[in-house]
Amino acid sequence: MRYLPLTETDRREMLGVIGAKSVDELFRDVPEHARLEGLVDLPRRQGEIEVERALAKMAAKNVSASSVPFFVGAGAYRHHVPAAVDHLIQRSEFLTSYTPYQPEITQGTLQYLFEFQTQVAMITGMDVANASMYDGSTGCGEAVLMAHRVTKRKKAVLSGTLHPQYAEVVKNLSDFAGYDLEIMPPALPGKVEDIAAHIADDTSCVVVQTPGFFGELVDLRPIAEAAHAKGALLIAVVPEFVSLGAVTPPGEMGADIVVGEGQSIGNGLNFGGPYVGLFATRQKFIRQMPGRLCGETVDADGKRGFVLTLSTREQHIRREKATSNICTNSGLCCLAFTIHMSLLGEEGYKRLARINHAAAVDLAERLAKVPGVEILNQAFFNEFTMRVSKPAADVVDALADRGVLGGVPASRLLPGAGLDDLLIVASTEINTDDDRAAYAAALEEVL
């Protein structure tokens, strides 16, 4: 087997050194009746050619985003990833190393984590960021738990702007961990959600997403004020991180914790994972943060270097008293994020955001002209919601038959909420004018 270096001769020699007659002897602690004698009922080993053929066959059954005009968003966005990014993250030294527990020989990882933390903090407008969570949704759950620790309260309020699956993740965690939660109904663009009215003295935090699930930008300032007035924290959630190149960052609008999904920068769609949770907060809360933190220090020769730090918050040191149980995080996705962000830089990032916004505005204008379409949004970034004259799920299906992936029907994530006629649509820098024209034409056919 190509991945196994030991030969029969090696095995014999090694058993000799060990003083065992057979490898079976080494498994003697396994209760006898649990020892499998034969092989499990699965196919035998296969060569690269066969494995590649089998998986390519599965892959070929999917419609890849690159092969059609593509407008699907709702928490995951297709952006162009520069070729250098994917090349660099595949370097052995990044790809096949472990968590940097031995800083002397993992300065590569540590330095990029430090840079990543800095970028995330700058972009969100916060003081500090950690070295990533699994993804935006789980980061959101952790943020709520952190708010409970900080405020020593037990109740969170989730805005109707929050991605329904994020809300579900928070609810799941909250329920099992024994906390209270209020989830507000879906916040449709055009109607202002009066979340302030739901903040009480026992509210630990409010969680608001911007751009919201339906694409609408949210003014966090009044919410922050209302929350702070009651001693609660504002958790801002940003699943489309490209937006912050154009939109006022939550840190400038009073957020206490910002959770982001970093997939948009440097990471592919990957059918939903792996993604990268971004997590930023104020300096004063750092000891309550979940996840790894990288910090600057010096070595024995006085040279600048980096280490994982404040690990007394973490499970491997603190065990049941840790701020989170997270261990493996999204290291390599951070790397992709930080490389892409390095390439973009200040100008590139802002311009990318403008291009995205222009793309979505153009698409909205084109689709608004299609009979049976009503665009709901006032202020949006690269995604908006439209009301269509037929069930949105059917519309999306019919568009797919015409070779256009046209977005996400709200009913897929919010069934039974009376939102069957809403379709959430995104456009990014990858779409050409032709793509958008094709969408409008196909939609006209379908409606």
Partner: protein
């Protein structure tokens, strides 16, 4: 053994050969210093070419971002060089043996990377119409099938994002089952062996359970009597790692499982060490109710400097009904996803909820499946055997030079303690750091906690005998040196790495967690 290895050459500190130790640049030939990204900032440079959009009327409301973010402007060549230089400061499996016990640093086949990048895998959206992602659902279904067959368990939740997330998932399912039985209130205690990985108690605590520690026997295993004594009607579950973190198979595991079940509790197994038994033992035959599998350990998806991983959880019959959404079902019109509570109701199941947005770590699923298919049933069994063989070979070869707290045979990793260093002035940490100079990543240190100054070595099955022989010879030489008073080789180590020992205390005392722009220079100066 390589003709280039200097085995048998004496090691000395300082000495007569002229060694140039400071250069003008700070570089040391191919070992290059690298500034922080922010220090490369050169406004006007840019690593992408994007055209400004044609003029249009923005619809951002009042939310247009003002002012500088502070991101550095760097061209593509400099960005590439920055990360290539940083990478050269890392150790990796591809560079050498990476014997981190419990972490399973094995070879990461590049075929798997290639497969993950097929457009039909890497470039599909989780919320595309399911009819446009039938191949993706088939892939998930196939992976689920392999995991169930290999573990002998009837159900699996694929979505957890890593091992610790899998623990949470498994414990939530247990909790959901207890709720369904109306026993949730009553059962507030979770038993966790002292030797457990930190994520186990952290997970239990996250769910509000009281963590109750089970002591270990002198043989490094759960103390069966002590354990039974701790069982009671208030116990929700035991979280046991098997093979355990001392690298040993829990001989009494079936008795433990029986006792747990008798007490009305559930048996969560930490499956991080499944690589030791895959293809030879099915956890389902041991009485386990839930177990996560670190695809990034047993099934070799790359660790990537800390992640991402994937932590699917297999379930017993008792827990299957509570497995979280989403999951894939195969119906008459092909594959479907059960995503929402409504879907589940229609499907007649009672998932406890949802662990994450979307459907889990597809990028890891494809890699793990490629790995499994490559090995097949026969190869996977060989994986376990070779992993165990390599570890026992290390244990047998080093037990007289280092000190081993427990009798063998071990499973996939060999545990040593620091008795062999007694009186030398060298500590576990120093010993580990000296390995760096020799070209090795140290083993896991000071874990598990049940042993003093632990050194936990997991060679994995993808190391050759030749590589292990050199590793053993090196550790023998280091042990010899420690015992013969060559203390400086250890306490000053590492000498030759890109950085020498780093001051972690200072880092934690006044944390600097981000770069800050230098304060503007005062005009008068």
């Amino acid at each position: 053994m390589s003709g280039m290895n200097k085995q048998g050459r004496p090691t000395s500190i300082g000495g007569a050969i002229p060694v140039m130790h400071e250069t003008f640049t700070g570089n040391r030939a191919l070992q290059l210093e690298e500034a922080l990204l922010f220090e490369l900032d050169n406004p006007g440079a840019c690593g992408v070419d994007l055209d400004e959009p044609a003029p249009f009327t923005a619809r951002l409301g009042n939310f247009e971002r003002q002012g500088r973010i502070g991101l550095p402007s760097v061209s593509e060549p400099e960005v590439v060089r920055h990360y290539v230089r940083l990478s050269a400061k890392n150790y990796s499996i591809d560079a050498g043996l990476y014997p981190l016990g419990s972490c399973t640093m094995k070879h990461n086949p590049r075929l798997n990377e290639k497969m993950a990048r097929l457009p039909g895998i890497g470039d599909i959206h989780p919320l595309q119409p399911v009819k446009t992602v039938q191949g993706a659902l088939e892939l998930m279904d196939t992976l689920a099938h392999w995991l169930k067959e290999l573990t002998g368990m009837p159900g699996v939740a694929l979505s957890p994002k890593a091992g610790a997330h899998g623990e949470l998932c498994g414990m939530m399912a247990i909790r959901a089952a207890l709720i369904a039985r109306g026993e949730d209130e009553a059962r507030s205690r979770v038993l966790v062996p002292e030797s457990a990985h930190g994520t186990n108690p952290a997970t239990a605590a996250l769910l509000g359970y009281k963590v109750d520690s089970i002591p270990a026997t002198k043989e490094g295993r759960v103390d069966l009597e002590a354990f039974k004594a701790k069982l009671g009607p208030d116990v929700a579950a035991i979280m046991l790692t098997n093979p355990n973190t001392c690298g040993l198979f829990e001989r009494d595991i079936i008795e433990i499982a029986d006792a747990v079940h008798e007490a009305g509790a559930y048996f969560y197994c930490d499956g991080a060490n499944f690589n030791a038994i895959v293809g030879r033992v099915r956890p389902g035959d041991l009485g386990i109710d839930a177990m996560h599998i670190n695809l990034h350990k047993t099934f070799s998806t790359p660790h990537g400097g800390g992640g991402p991983g994937a932590g699917p959880v297999v379930f017993s019959e008792a827990l299957v009904p509570f497995a979280p959404r989403p999951y894939v079902v195969h119906g008459p019109d092909g594959f479907r996803l059960v995503e929402t509570a409504e879907d589940a109701k229609a499907d007649g199941t009672t998932p406890f909820g949802r662990m994450t947005a979307f459907h889990g770590q597809m990028g890891m699923f494809v890699r793990a499946l490629a790995y499994m298919m490559s090995h097949g049933s026969d190869g996977l069994r060989q994986v376990a055997e070779d992993a165990v063989l390599n570890a026992n070979y290390v244990l047998a070869s080093l037990k007289n030079d280092l000190s081993a707290p427990f009798e063998g045979p071990c499973m996939h990793e060999a545990l040593f303690d620091d008795r062999f260093l007694k009186g030398t002035g060298v500590e576990t940490l120093d010993f580990a750091k000296a390995m760096i100079d020799e070209g090795y990543h140290p083993m896991t240190m000071y874990f598990p906690l049940v042993v003093h100054g632990a050194l936990l070595i997991e060679p994995t099955e993808t190391e050759s005998k030749q590589a292990i022989d050199l590793f053993i010879a090196t550790l023998k030489d280091l042990a010899r040196a420690a015992k013969s008073n060559d203390k400086e080789r250890f306490t000053g180590a590492p000498y030759l790495s890109p950085r020498r020992r780093l001051d972690e205390t200072a880092a934690a005392r006044s944390p600097v967690l981000r770069w800050m722009p230098p304060a503007p220079k005062q005009a008068a100066e």
